[in-house]
């Protein structure tokens, strides 16, 4: 094989962008998870609307929602939806704070990302406590 007049002998040519070895900064994780949680939330809206609809339609369906929240499957779906909302909201508020010009330096951005991850983790755990306990 010949590229730019140079014969490439080595079959195992180096890969330009080997995503397996790239270490992403913490800010990238916060931002990609924000995206993922946004897409998950789009599906979770159906869950929230179902709960809202049933809870307001009649006394029976209101009690049915309360009962359903007692079953493990239902609890998991609701916790997962709340977790997506919790993460997305915390990371979203961080985004809005940065839009106002706060924490835009490299260090500030990394600190903000760490705070967002910790706060989101606490919110997700508390949502679990709320649903299960």
């Amino acid at each position: 094989m010949q590229i730019y007049g140079v014969y490439i002998v080595n079959k195992k040519r180096p890969v330009n962008l080997d995503i397996g070895t790239i270490h992403l900064p913490i800010t990238s994780y916060v931002s990609i998870l924000h995206r993922v949680s946004g897409v998950v939330l789009f599906a979770a809206i159906a869950v929230f609307l179902w709960v809202l609809d049933a809870s307001l339609s009649s006394e029976e369906s209101f009690n049915a929602v309360k009962e359903c929240i007692g079953s493990p499957f239902c609890q998991f779906i609701i916790w997962a939806s709340l977790a997506a909302l919790g993460y997305h909201m915390v990371a979203g508020i961080r985004h809005l704070i940065m839009d106002f010009g706060l924490g835009e330096t490299l260090e500030g951005g990394q600190l903000g990302a760490k705070i967002a991850l910790i706060v989101a983790a606490v919110v997700i755990i508390l949502a679990g406590v709320w649903v299960w306990v």
Partner: protein, 124 residues
């Protein structure tokens, strides 16, 4: 020279999309914090109390604003995600019809959510 308009985005320009995305985020955050706080402080909530909360005019306004915000925010957000990943550069020539398919699906689901949600919060 007029501003470059984009028939495919939600607002008339990237800037209005950006602003709408932020304004709707604030509305949804207010709603979420309020409702979570209300549910936490009323653990023995019953049906009549829940209905009377949601039929209060202030709550109706918040409900309607939130429901509309969800639709606008999801539309703009998913549009950005689709135009970032379902591209010819990443997926080849089939990306364009695929992206249009997903965009139409996203718009359909968003409108169904919107009508369903308005029906719930308006009917009380």
């Amino acid at each position: 020279m007029g501003m470059i308009t984009n028939v495919t985005s939600f607002g008339r320009s990237g800037l209005s999309d950006w602003l709408l995305q932020r304004a709707t985020a604030v509305v949804m955050a207010i709603y979420t914090v309020f409702v979570v706080f209300y549910l936490l402080t009323n653990p023995d909530l019953d049906y009549s109390q829940w209905v009377s909360l949601n039929s209060h005019i202030c709550m109706k306004v918040l409900n309607v604003l939130t429901v509309i915000s969800i639709a606008i925010h999801a539309w703009i957000g998913l549009w950005a995600v689709l135009t970032d990943y379902v591209t010819v550069r990443l997926l080849g020539p089939k990306a364009t019809p695929l992206r249009i398919f997903f965009q139409l699906g996203m718009i359909t689901v968003t409108l169904v959510y919107l009508i369903w949600a308005l029906d719930i919060v308006w009917g009380i």
